[in-house]
């Protein structure tokens, strides 16, 4: 039993997904139970992973380049923990809304299980298949309310995502042409020989894969789909998209850079500078676009582009400190942004408007939710006792250490702009009395139990997580440490 744990983590939500379709009554219990089962399975591995070991599972007993293997090491453990933890909270948050039927939970579970599939698999073509499965489920989740705007947002995402994954697959084709294998660890072994003979093919495949993932991460020139998709989707789905799904693209990018292409080739073809430039551009672009948004969820969506820019800068610096900061910021952003989208969901259903200025007075009516919103947005800005500060600080330190002092100036400028747009929202929250406007068309016909525990508890948990990671950053860094030492030194700490 214990050797089969990696595959059981993927199968448990997938099995529950199809059972959910069959049962009308127990759909929520099944969904929650399957995710909790997966979390229990992951936590049985935690002591081995955190001590620097890794768990490899060969599917069907076929080893090496022939079969598909699942690997749980520092990096994949870290990302699967984010996916499962936030996935559970997303499911709990969706419970009170009755309009979410069986297909909603089916799609949610399929997307979560394929995310873990992307994270664990070592076969690069299998990664593509899981990613495409994840994307299909996510397109449908965005279009779930079946209103005009959501259908359009979903279609735009489908086109962009389809093009991105086609680029990724073409890059995989180039890799296979050079090395004759699809297992990432075996490709890495054979690629350095291929690099000497056919350098252009290696650069081509890296460029194709990086472009494909760039569309999925929504770096600046390829971000077109993100604001619509993230803001028009139902609020729990927005939290899922912004908190987790985008992070899967970052995981693939890190995995491909460090495991397949190895850090040496990465530095040799100068792509760390490209990542850094893209990071800076999307940082400034996201921040300045968020500043002018009137729609609350659209503001949060542009803020995602802003924060992912910081992660890319950390990856581009590429030193130990920079990577630690980048991965820690991935965790922090996942927590903060899901908290903000959960809060935005409650604000929109309570006030009946998506406009920022329609929120005035919400702060007096629901102080607890507002407090959580303020905690998370202070973290986004990067104000000391909250977790966002710790990771931004690490990235700034890394930038100074590596001699890129101008990056610190840019990050601080973007933080100042972030402060401007988040403080604008907070100011409105404590403004005049609450006006009950009409429900917007696409949020209509939902039945909400006001003050429901299931909706507010995930927010409190996430806000507590923000404070905890901010006060004790070593807690988060100890989670990131095995991943960083795996990436940079290929050894256990």
């Amino acid at each position: 039993m214990s050797i089969h744990i990696p595959i059981l983590i993927i199968i448990s939500p997938l099995l529950a997904a199809f059972l959910v379709l069959l049962s009308r009554k127990y759909k929520i219990i099944l969904a929650t139970a399957s995710i909790i089962t997966s979390i229990v399975f992951v936590s049985t591995l935690s002591s081995r992973i955190l001590s620097g070991d890794k768990v490899i599972y060969h599917l069907g007993g076929w080893r090496g380049p022939l079969g598909i293997s699942l690997v749980v090491d520092g990096l994949s453990f870290f990302f699967s923990l984010i996916v499962l933890g936030l996935g559970l909270l997303v499911i709990i948050y969706s419970i009170p809304e009755r309009r979410y039927g069986r297909t909603y939970y089916f799609l949610l579970l399929v997307s979560l299980s394929s995310m873990i599939g992307v994270i664990y698999t070592t076969d690069i073509f299998n990664m593509y298949i899981f990613y495409e499965l994840l994307s299909l489920a996510v397109y449908l989740l965005i279009a779930y309310p079946k209103t005009g705007v959501t259908l359009r947002a979903s279609f735009n995402y489908l086109i962009m995502g389809g093009v991105g994954l086609s680029f990724f697959l073409l890059g995989v084709g180039f890799l296979y042409a050079m090395t004759g294998t699809l297992d990432m660890f075996h490709i890495a072994g054979r690629l350095s020989a291929a690099f000497d003979s056919s350098m252009q093919m290696v650069i081509m495949s890296f460029a194709l894969i990086a472009t494909g993932m760039g569309i999925k991460i929504a770096v600046f020139p390829l971000h077109g789909w993100l604001p619509d998709a993230h803001s028009m989707a139902p609020s729990p789905v927005s939290a899922l998209l912004s908190g987790i799904t985008v992070k899967i693209g970052i995981y693939c990018l890190i995995r491909v850079i460090y495991t397949v292409f190895s850090a040496e080739i990465f530095l040799l073809i100068n792509s760390h500078n490209i990542l850094m430039v893209l990071g800076v551009v999307s940082l400034l672009f996201g921040a300045s676009m968020a500043l002018v948004q009137k729609d609350l969820k659209r503001l949060l969506a542009y803020s995602t582009i802003n924060q992912l820019g910081i992660v890319l800068i950390g990856l581009g610096i590429g030193t130990e400190l920079g990577l630690t900061g980048a991965l820690f910021h991935v965790l922090n952003h996942a927590i903060m942004k899901s908290a903000l989208f959960f809060c935005a969901g409650i604000m929109i259903t309570e006030t009946g408007t998506r406009e920022v200025k329609g929120l005035s007075g919400f702060g007096r009516q629901q102080p607890a939710i507002t407090f959580a919103f303020i905690v998370a947005s202070l973290g986004m800005i990067g104000i000391p006792p909250i977790n966002g500060f710790a990771s931004k600080w690490l990235i700034c330190l890394a930038a100074v250490e590596a001699g890129y002092t101008f990056l610190v100036v840019i990050i601080l400028t973007a933080s100042a702009i972030a402060a401007a747009y988040y403080f604008r929202v907070i100011q409105v929250l404590f403004g005049g009395s609450l006006k009950q406007g009409p429900m917007p068309a696409h949020e209509g016909e939902q039945v909400i139990n006001r003050g429901n525990l299931f909706r507010s508890w995930p927010i409190y948990i996430l806000a507590a997580g923000c404070l905890l990671l901010g006060l004790l950053p070593t807690l988060g860094i100890s989670l990131v440490k095995p991943a960083v030492s795996l990436l940079l030194f290929h050894v256990v700490p």
């Binding site: 073509f125 298949i129 495409e132 299909l136 397109y139 449908l140 279009a143 079946k146 209103t147 005009g148 705007v149 259908l151 359009r152 979903s154 279609f155 489908l158 086109i159 389809g162 093009v163 086609s166 697959l169 073409l170 084709g173 296979y176 042409a177 699809l182």
Partner: protein, 114 residues
């Protein structure tokens, strides 16, 4: 023109279609053409001049080497075709819904609607 160059050309034609066409159906056609380019690319990687199907029959191993085509890309492309079909099906379903809401498939007009 090697088969690989042609396949990349087909890929680029598909990309042009996705990027420049205003009609939603034509965008999906572009996506399908891109997919076709990728299939052609993988198949031409695995192609060997005068290669046979990679089937090992009893008694054929007699010391002489025979050239066989690489079966792995073909197996991969069966999967990729199936995935491409599901993406196309989902996209067309979305298009049907969009058309019944807006009565147009032109992306310029759709972006004006609120």
């Amino acid at each position: 023109m090697t088969p690989i160059n042609i396949s990349l050309l087909v890929f680029m034609i598909g990309l042009y279609g996705v990027m420049s066409k205003n009609n939603l159906i034509k965008k999906i056609m572009g996506l399908t053409i891109m997919n076709g380019g990728i299939v052609l690319f993988f198949i031409s990687i695995g192609y060997r001049e005068a290669g046979l199907a990679p089937i090992l029959e009893k008694g054929t191993i007699d010391g002489t080497t025979t050239i066989v085509v690489d079966p792995l890309p073909q197996a991969l492309m069966l999967t990729a075709i199936v995935i491409g079909i599901s993406v196309t099906a989902l996209a067309l379903a979305l298009i049907v819904k969009i058309y019944s809401k807006y009565k147009t498939l032109d992306i310029q007009q759709l972006s004006k609607e609120r």
